[in-house]
């Protein structure tokens, strides 16, 4: 019978949830007082108590019931020390603003780690109540940035930091605040420009409407294609010459200054493109805008010529909107990288001849001796001069196990010194560290243009030349008959072919796609990666956590409650994943007291249990029990382990776990990492899109073959027992021939993830994998991957459609202008139609959820 099903049901009934993080509490940690809140670890308990003591229990009612918090397992969370340097003058100089005449009021900003839901905003903003002296605490939910102001006479910054820490949020000084401030100012300026351009557009259009109505009234019911000189004169007749001039001047007054200022974005880009002789969309746009402005200036002064003020204000408005969308799109990645920067400590202890001094990390010079105490982050890349410790490098390498380091070993900035004090000779500091390089990579990835955007730019280069050539041809062709018509037509051509739709085509579709992906829990660092995913590639899976669930489970179990009771008792002290799987997967049974416990790493455990029903003082022999691999049990318990059942289990891709006691094997359990039920179906879908597959796994080759066999697709390579270096080598080798997409669980795969054309981390450790991976799924399973591929294919279709539309409209407009059919009225209709088509086409992107299975 299937135990899995039974285990599942008993799981639900028995699981006690942690009062803070709402994750299941392991048996051993359950407090016997049934009414008291239960905690999975002391970290959660400390945070819960801190929240409770401040009377903020409402936090737990406010958060979503399904919300799982980050468990506060990490030891550093338990000891909110190490903020003393926040009060140091060196720190104050760097990060704290003291506005004048405010009587000791100080301001600073922190990045808070652990912000995850709306209730956090509530909790954090209660800070003035919790820590007297804090004047205000404003949290920006989207970028986890806390703006804090406090009175230095009443409270120290270190105390505030400790309070935040106790509440479960680790504060990092916002080192990039200055730069972020500058960026924010840029964004605000753009937004202001959009407002001005929009207002100008609306008002000029109203005025133009009056002029156009007069024109059509002048023509009466016989509105025909004979637009031109006679029309304008008759409009003047209908409207009255004075009014006609007045409306034109009003348009001029509104349009010219606003376009000159708001359009400066494009003029600057166009000018630099001209100087460097590179193709850029801004160049043809600038030509169009300037042609319209100069012609408008002439027309207004001269009093008769056509004016294109309405078209040009609209152009600028729409283009600025597109640009703003583009700016917003890369914001998420930028924020993440800023958080990475915040992970380097802002101050560092430097050993000098006159003692240890605390200096800002940026000003530490090469060759200085840096002292790092236990629990602190290292601020420089360097070599250990004295001391021995272990460092947590998960941020940089994705490696979840700490690394032992000793004298002569090199350590990197951003890693955490876990156990003992270290003295390090700084080798590279500030912007030369690996951490800084990593941040630059992330930022670069976000700003780097997708090949399709580069293509659009190149098209615009050709476009500029063609438009200028066409304008010259029109001018020369019409000049002999009528010089004024020649100028008008050439100008109309330049304005009407301004590649507004072309400029919107890519960023708009990409922006919508990335936004849509983020809403579905798929964070993609840039459009470049979406484009890559739309093309057939070799998908390389790291088996654990992608094709399989990544959690060990008892899949096959024989034996009643008695065996369960023995195994659960023996394993209750072990932290090994298999022990956890056994505790979780076996039916509940009474636990026996453990007299002795020994664990042999990677092999198994030995335990002495008190027999059931015998009081402690009775001198009956305790029960010796061995649980572990075949070899371990055979050697230690002296039993034969070549049982047929074991080979059956191995044949099914499971690891047999032997339980032996009193000279015989009493049970063989099949423990394994079950495949994801949706995996086969997902791979079929991906296969239909032309992708190929391979597995690279650290697991045994038989297991890999086993899992691969169940998927029903052809595999290019099935490689087991791969080290991270071998994985990297394989990816590099394969990449020579075709693009490689690496899909890993984000831990231990960092190098391979970053080497692949696209690295996708499936539900791994967020910080580490976001640093290395190009896309990151916050939901487990393979469905997000299929969604991502479908989304990228849909997006590329839309982009191609958009490019096609805009080129078609521009050719049409150019043709009409050369033949002299383009008047301001025609331009005012034609231009928005092309832009609106592109916008609608981007909005109508087919949502992958319609056919994909959503959770």
């Amino acid at each position: 019978m299937s135990l899995a099903a039974r285990a599942q049901t008993s799981d639900v009934a028995l699981t006690t949830l942690c009062a803070h993080c709402a994750l299941p509490v392991t048996d051993g940690a359950i407090d016997t007082q049934a009414t008291a809140p239960q905690f999975c670890c002391s970290g959660c308990e400390a945070v819960y108590m801190a929240i409770h003591d401040h009377g903020l229990d409402a936090f737990y009612q406010k958060r979503e019931p399904s919300e799982k918090l980050d468990p506060q397992h990490r030891d550093r969370l338990n000891s909110p020390t190490g903020y003393a340097h926040f009060d140091d003058p060196a720190f104050t100089d760097l990060h704290v603003r003291c506005p004048p005449d405010t009587d000791g009021l100080m301001q600073t900003s922190f990045y808070l780690q652990g912000i995850h839901c709306a209730a956090c905003v509530w909790l954090i903003e209660k800070l003035p109540r919790v820590a007297p002296g804090v004047i205000s605490a404003r949290l920006s939910y989207t970028d986890s940035l806390l703006h804090l102001s406090w009175r230095s006479t009443q409270v120290q910054l270190s105390e505030i930091a400790q309070t935040l820490h106790k509440l479960g949020y680790v504060p990092h000084p916002a080192t990039q605040a200055g730069k972020a401030h500058k960026e924010r100012a840029g964004e605000r300026r753009l937004l202001a420009k959009i407002g001005i351009a929009g207002a100008a557009f609306g008002n000029v259009m109203l005025l133009s409407l009056a002029i156009y109505s007069a024109e059509s009234a002048a023509l009466g019911p016989s509105f025909s294609a004979s637009l031109g000189q006679e029309l304008r004169t008759s409009a003047e007749v209908v409207m009255g010459s004075a009014y006609h001039q007045f409306f034109r001047w009003a348009s001029f007054v509104i349009a010219v200054p606003s376009v000159l200022w708001t359009g400066s974005e494009f003029f600057r880009g166009g000018w630099s493109a001209l100087k460097t002789r590179t193709a850029h969309m801004d160049l043809p746009i600038s030509i169009g805008i300037l042609a319209a402005l100069i012609w408008g200036l002439y027309g207004t002064l001269q009093g008769h010529a056509e004016l294109y003020f309405d078209t040009v204000t609209m152009l600028v408005f729409l283009l600025l909107l597109g640009r703003w969308g583009q700016l917003r799109q890369s914001q998420a990645a930028r924020n993440t990288s800023e958080l990475l920067f915040a992970l380097a400590p802002s101050t560092t202890r430097v050993v000098t001849p006159d003692g240890v001094r605390l200096l800002p990390t940026q000003s530490v010079s090469k060759g200085s001796i840096v002292r790092v105490q236990s629990g602190e982050r290292i601020g420089v890349d360097g070599r250990i001069r004295c001391g021995e410790s272990s460092v947590d490098e998960s941020l940089l390498s994705g490696e979840s196990y700490p690394r032992r380091v000793t004298m002569g070993d090199s350590v990197l900035a951003g890693t955490v010194n876990l156990s003992d004090q270290l003295e390090i000779v700084a080798e590279s500091t500030g912007h030369e560290t690996r951490l800084a390089a990593l941040v630059r990579d992330v930022q670069l990835a976000a700003t780097e243009k997708a090949p399709i955007a580069v293509f659009a730019d190149r098209v615009s280069g050709v476009f500029t030349v063609v438009v200028l050539a066409l304008a010259s041809v029109t001018f020369i062709a019409c000049f002999p008959t009528s010089p004024s018509t020649a100028v008008e037509r050439a100008v109309a051509l330049l304005i009407v072919t301004c590649p507004c739709a072309l400029g919107l085509a890519t960023p708009l579709a990409a922006g919508f796609a990335l936004h849509r992906a983020a809403k579905r829990g798929l964070l993609v660092k840039g459009m470049r990666f979406l484009e890559q995913l739309a093309k057939p590639a070799l998908l390389v899976f790291d088996k654990t956590g992608t094709l399989t669930q990544g959690v060990l489970k008892v899949v096959d179990y024989e034996g009643g409650t008695q065996v369960s009771s023995l195994v659960r008792s023996a394993e209750q002290r072990s932290a090994h994943p298999i022990a956890e799987a056994l505790r979780r997967g076996l039916p509940p049974a009474p636990l026996l007291p453990v007299l002795e416990f020994e664990s042999f790493s990677g092999l198994g455990v030995r335990a002495l249990l008190q027999r059931e029903g015998t009081p402690q003082d009775e001198a009956s022999a305790p029960l010796e029990i061995f649980i572990g691999s075949a070899r371990f049990v055979a050697e230690r318990a002296q039993v034969a382990t070549n049982l047929p059942r074991a080979s059956v289990l191995i044949g099914r891709g499971l690891s047999p776990v032997f339980v032996a006691s009193e000279g015989q094997v009493i049970a063989v359990l099949g423990v394994g990492d079950p495949e994801r039920p949706e995996a086969a179906e997902c791979l079929q879908k991906l296969k239909a899109y032309g992708h190929q597959f391979a597995i690279l796994s650290g697991d045994r080759s038989e297991l890999v073959a086993q899992v691969a066999g169940h998927m029903g697709v052809d595999w290019v390579d099935l490689l087991g027992e791969q080290t991270p270096e071998q994985k990297l080598e394989y990816i590099k080798h394969k990449q020579a021939t075709l693009p490689v997409v690496m899909i890993g669980d984000g831990v231990n795969d960092a190098a391979a993830l970053s080497a692949a054309s696209v690295g996708i981390a499936m539900h791994g450790g967020a910080e580490a994998s976001l640093a290395a991976a190009d896309a990151f799924a916050t939901r487990a399973g393979l469905t997000p991957l299929v969604e991502l591929v479908e989304l990228s294919r849909a997006t590329m279709r839309v982009i191609h459609r958009n490019l096609g539309f805009s080129l078609f409209y521009n050719s049409l407009a150019a043709g009409l202008a050369m033949l002299g059919y383009v008047t301001p009225l025609v331009a005012a209709i034609l231009m928005p139609i092309s832009s609106v088509t592109v916008v609608i086409s981007s909005l109508l992107q087919r949502q992958p959820s319609e056919n994909g299975q959503d959770k």
């Binding site: 202001a192 008002n203 007045f246």
Partner: protein, 58 residues
């Protein structure tokens, strides 16, 4: 119809005022964070309407 000569400049001035207000609020950072204020508004409701005397530590 000559009122237009007065009304249009007036309308342009009004629009200009609105634009200035918008630019001012942008530079003040009112559009920086469009998400948190929406959440914040939901949270303040359960506070007592009449504030209790401040519990200042002596």
């Amino acid at each position: 119809m000559s009122i237009l000569f007065l009304l249009i400049p007036l309308a342009v001035l009004l629009a200009g005022g609105a634009v200035i207000a918008f630019v001012w609020s942008t530079t003040q950072g009112q559009f920086d964070d469009l998400e948190t204020p929406a959440l914040r508004m939901l949270h303040d409701d359960d506070e007592p309407r009449v504030p209790s005397p401040p519990t200042q530590v002596e």
